[in-house]
Amino acid sequence: MGERKTFELEQGWEYMQKGITKLKGILDGSLEQFNSEEYMMLYTTIYNMCTQKPPNDYSQQLYDKYREAFQVLPSIREKHNEFMLRELVKRWANHKIMVRWLSRFFHYLDRYFIARRSLPPLNEVGLTCFRDLVYQKVNSKAKDAVLDVIGKERDGEQIDRALLKNVLDIFVEIGMSQMDLYEDDFEAHMLQGTGAYYSAEECLKRERERVSHYLHSSSETKLVEKVQHELLVVHVNQLLEKEHSGVHSLLRDDKLDDLSRMFRLYHKVTRGLEPVSNVFKQHITAEGTALVQQAEDAASSQAANGGVQEQVLIRKIIELHDKYMTYVTDCFQNHTLFHKAMKEAFEIFCNKTVAGSSSAEQLATFCDTILRKGGSDKLNDEAIEETLEKVVKLLAYISDKDLFAEFYRKKLARRLLFDRSANDEHERSILSKLKQQCGGQFTSKMEGMVTDLQLAKEYQSSFDEYLGNNPSTRPGIDLQVSVLTTGYWPSYKSSDINLPAEMARGVEVFKEFYDNKNKHRKLTWIYSLGSCHINAKFDQKPIELIVTTYQACLLMLFNTSDKLSYPEIMTQSNLSNDDLPRLLHSLSCGKYKILSKEPNTKTVTQNDSFEFNHKFNDRMRRIKVPLPLVDERKKVVEDVYKDRRYAIDAAIVRIMKSRKVLGYQQLVMECVEQLSRMFKPDIKAIKKRIEDLISQEYLEREKENPNMFRYLA
């Protein structure tokens, strides 16, 4: 160890100064570096100057000089907003580096001098310098700039979150692990600013996010509280209706938890739930209407392509119903307001017509599909039951329940008569569900129909027995008759067809049998609903044809004639131009050409003639020759409207009889209410019925008050 030189303060400091300057240069971007030798020298210089014997112990001076070394350029003050923030961050970063380096250089001071004198360590000194020189001067501007940037982000702009984080870190770090500066200088202002900016649930989340990104975590609770306060009290409607946030978007994005939270929040506010339930209702209505529109579009494009309309809509509506019912029970805790909102929403779009078919008809068709053989093979019993439950629930939203009943009845009749019903239990089950929902009157006829068929089976057995015991009566064909009670079944047209001898004989025999048992009843034969198994001997092989009775009658004509013209057929069968073309078409122009038509065109005209097609063959030994159904829709609607007239009459008379004198509007109101279980009466229709009843002298108008009616006994 050589003799140590004694450094004078100025000398030593000059050397240090060079080092500091170099350091600053590096921070400003110069490519210089400190090598370990230089570093050692700087450190040793300090060391020496501090360990020299007094009066050359320059610790104090060095401490002071250290402080002086930190001069931060005032350029920060001239900059603004983000630029200022960037500059601030840069300077701070630089400052920190400087502090770190200088502290290393001056480290010896830290080890002894500071401890001995209980002075703040170099680190702290450095930071304090920054605080005093920079922070105090710019913090308010910085704060404003930060809030400004946050505001931008709230409005949807992209911001440099990293920058913000860094700036806010400054606030925190300068506080030196005490949060005061952060809280007082920044947080308080931020919270205030948040209050001024109202936000929705979505923003709530974003605020939370913001916290996690760059705000200090302690802000979170306070922030959330503040936002909630704004939510609850101040800006309810705007919140809910805000385009990209609010209840609407929560519903759209299926955010169940958020919805639950929203419900809980608003539940505390008086009438706070009303706007929420309104949005709920609007949302469901919009979705439902969209489904209807989809179905409408699909139907028209399918029609253009010649396809058959599928029963997709009902299924989708059921799904929608299930979905939102869950919302009501889970998120909205079964609150009545939301049940009501849902009901009203469904009532709006469940009553729209799609492709000419009313919702009542669609629902009935849907039921038919499920209950028919082969209609729901993929579903087990339980699933079918569930679906039937849901269908009945859906019926509650449909206003034309009587229309549904009529379509249902018609399709039920077909299922029962043509033995197409898949499962008797299911048939009865849905009837009991309908009864529960709509009352006994609704289902009485249908129940009668189901019972009729069972009775019919019993009758059939005793008929068979009768034939067995009386061989002479046997008609030579197997005959099955279903006796139906007129009132229960839909009305059917029965035309006076000329039956072939064998069938006529069968009918006679049954008639005798039946009359013996029931002397006071009259049978009306509806041949249009019958079906027939007929053996046809074609050249290649005999084939059993399953046809309707009418088709069979026509085919039998060719047993006695080889060729028949349209007019001849008409005379011999006694069918009319309403039925004949359709029937002949099914036998000669359809999938199976049992008869050959001359000329071989695609439609049947009165100039055509027909022959039995010997050459016909099919790989099957038994085929069903289909007869396309006549569209019953028009008739059903007519029948229902007719019944409605009677129903309205009855309601008016009933009401007037009990009230004796009643004002017009009151009468209409009560009428609508009484009838609402089955259908929504048209006000004009009610007025017309009132007028008719006046004409028929059930009612009269009061002389003094023409808006008042009196019941005439």
Binding site: Y664, Q665, K684, K687, E691, I694, S695, R701, P706, N707
Partner: protein, 243 residues
């Protein structure tokens, strides 16, 4: 020349008594079945009047039926120089409380003419303006208006009158008071197809409508009230026409 035995027609009058007496012709033959009405001197004028009324009635009445029929009414009309389609004839019928359109019975004639305080054609003619005024008083008009409709119900159990006739009747009865309204209403009735005939309730509605509803704006019409449906439709039609 010996006075001829004057023939008097047999009349049944409840406040008279009939006594058979001898004809005071010098030939002194009692012509048996002649009835002479002997009435106390104070009722002389009344007798005369009823007499005159009867005579007048008889001059128009159908001999076999004993009542004035449409032919007779036409004759009466031409005698007083009023068209038989004139509304005043209808008013006359109203005054008579005539039950059957086109026919006047003797009772109706008597009570009606007496109520009019006329006993001759000329007096009748002169009394027509008075009659008009009487009909047009608010108290009577409603009754007359209703009567006009019922008068058209010629068949047994008939409750409605066909549109054509209703239009004519409206014009006849309301034309003078509410010409423009009636014209529009008639126009509508002719082109609409909901109703082929009108009943009394609707008929009365028309009057109420003309009286109460402002024209042509129809501002104060409230379809929620119990106006007959045909008027609701009329108002809709008017509004469409205007737009």
């Amino acid at each position: 020349m010996p006075p001829r035995a004057s023939k008097r027609k047999a009349t049944a009058s409840h406040n008279s008594s009939s006594v058979t007496s001898a004809d005071d012709s010098p030939t002194g033959t009692i012509t048996g079945l002649d009835n002479v009405i002997l009435i106390a001197p104070s009722d002389k004028n009344k007798t005369k009047k009823t007499d005159r009324l009867d005579t007048l009635f008889d001059s128009y009445a159908n001999c076999s039926s004993g009542i004035i029929d449409p032919e007779g009414i036409e004759a009466l009309c031409s005698d007083i120089n009023v068209e038989h389609t004139d509304v005043r004839i209808l008013m006359f019928a109203w005054k008579l409380k005539a039950q059957r359109q086109g026919y006047f019975t003797r009772d109706e004639w008597r009570s009606g003419m007496k109520a009019l305080k006329v006993d001759s054609l000329s007096k009748l003619k002169k009394g027509l303006p008075e009659l008009e005024k009487e009909v047009n008083t608010p108290g009577n008009f409603q009754d007359f208006y209703s009567y006009a409709f019922r008068y058209c119900l010629t068949e047994e159990k008939q409750k409605t009158v066909d549109i054509e006739s209703v239009c004519e009747l409206l014009n006849l009865v309301l034309g003078s008071q509410f010409q423009s309204k009636v014209d529009l209403l008639i126009e509508y009735l002719k082109i609409q197809s909901d109703y082929k005939a009108i009943n009394l309730d609707q008929w009365m509605g028309f009057l109420r409508f003309c009286k109460e509803i402002s024209f042509p704006d129809l501002e104060n019409y409230d379809a929620d009230l119990a106006w007959p449906l045909i008027l609701d439709n009329f108002v809709d039609w008017m509004k469409e026409k205007r737009s």
